[in-house]
């Protein structure tokens, strides 16, 4: 059983499980699935600095912090007890494209030459962690949600603004991948 679960899961299995998160949270207590809001709740809880955007009762949204805390724990469990012994697979075409950019490590889910601990205080760390992370936090709140809140919750409820947001962040991703990354990889 554990061996079976340790293989990489098929996209349809993951899709069904993530899709079911939407009604599960609604049925458990009228909660709407959306993860980026947690970044705001963390700001509201830790550094509100009298900014109106962070002056609300974040404790009422604590369920979401519990949810994401559970997700971290789930990741710990999966990475330690459901580890796939087979080597990590990357699509051949992607590997070729990324090698051309300068990525060297294809052995794990994250390339160590970009996201290793030893990269934190380098120009790579500044680009891939600090700059990239900032865009995630700023962009998701400006856009009112992320992949979970807009693409999954919002589209599930047939919301046009969520479709617009989803198209926008997919477009942003394509632009960055094809035009931005080649430039960023030249910086180091």
């Amino acid at each position: 059983m554990l061996q079976f679960l340790s293989q990489p899961w098929h996209w349809s299995v993951a899709g069904v499980l993530i899709g079911l998160t939407v009604p599960t949270l609604l049925l458990l207590g009228n909660r709407v699935f959306g993860i980026s809001s947690n970044l705001r709740h963390i700001c509201a809880a830790c550094i509100p600095a009298n900014i109106p955007f962070f002056k609300y009762d974040w404790k009422k949204e604590a369920w979401n912090l519990f949810f994401i805390g559970g997700a971290i724990l789930g990741a710990v469990l999966a990475a330690n007890f459901l580890k796939d012994p087979a080597p990590f697979q990357v699509a051949a075409a992607t590997q070729r494209d990324l090698q051309a950019l300068g990525v060297q490590d294809f052995s794990a889910m994250m390339p160590a030459d970009l996201f290793g601990v030893d990269q934190i205080f380098t120009i790579k760390g500044l680009i891939f962690m600090v700059f990239g992370g900032f865009l995630i936090g700023f962009g998701t709140r400006y856009g009112g949600g992320c992949t979970s809140g807009h693409a999954i919750s919002g589209l599930s409820n047939l919301q046009l603004p969520s479709l617009i947001a989803t198209i926008s962040f997919m477009a942003g991703g394509f632009l960055m991948t094809h035009f931005g990354l080649p430039l960023l990889f030249k910086l180091f």
Partner: protein, 172 residues
Amino acid sequence: MSQIVDTPSTIETNTDFEVRSLDAMCVNDSHLVEPWYHNIKYALIGILFGITFIKAEIVSWFRIQEMFRFQSFHMYGVIGVAVVVGAISIQIIKRFKLKTIYGEPIELHNKSFNKGQIYGGLLFGFGWAITGACPGPLFAQIGAGFLAVSVTLLSAIAGTWVYGYVRERLPH
């Protein structure tokens, strides 16, 4: 700065209603006040969610690169199936007027359009392609042992904070 959607259900002490209406999720609150340990059930769902994220490799920078380069169907499959399953579930909830386990009617609110969804969406897309993570995977990557991603997460929190700080001056 024109969409002011005040849901009568939300007891709001903050007079800046847009603060909430602009947000993806905060408008849909349960009206019940529950003791904190009721939140443990959300943590349990979160655990299953985190395991799924790791085992389906959604947290992988490479899977996101494959997606944005159209070189694998994997992520499209995950998101596509999730939306279909979510949409069918919501139709069932609406059709049969299902209630929560506490007997509250389930409320779904419509979102209103603002230009932030385009500008913010684009910026988030840039960040997604760079880091290989949307906010959920960001937390899961750290759990999976990619500890340097903590820096990405802290920077994302900083980004959210800066948005809150400059929000009034941004086009919406």
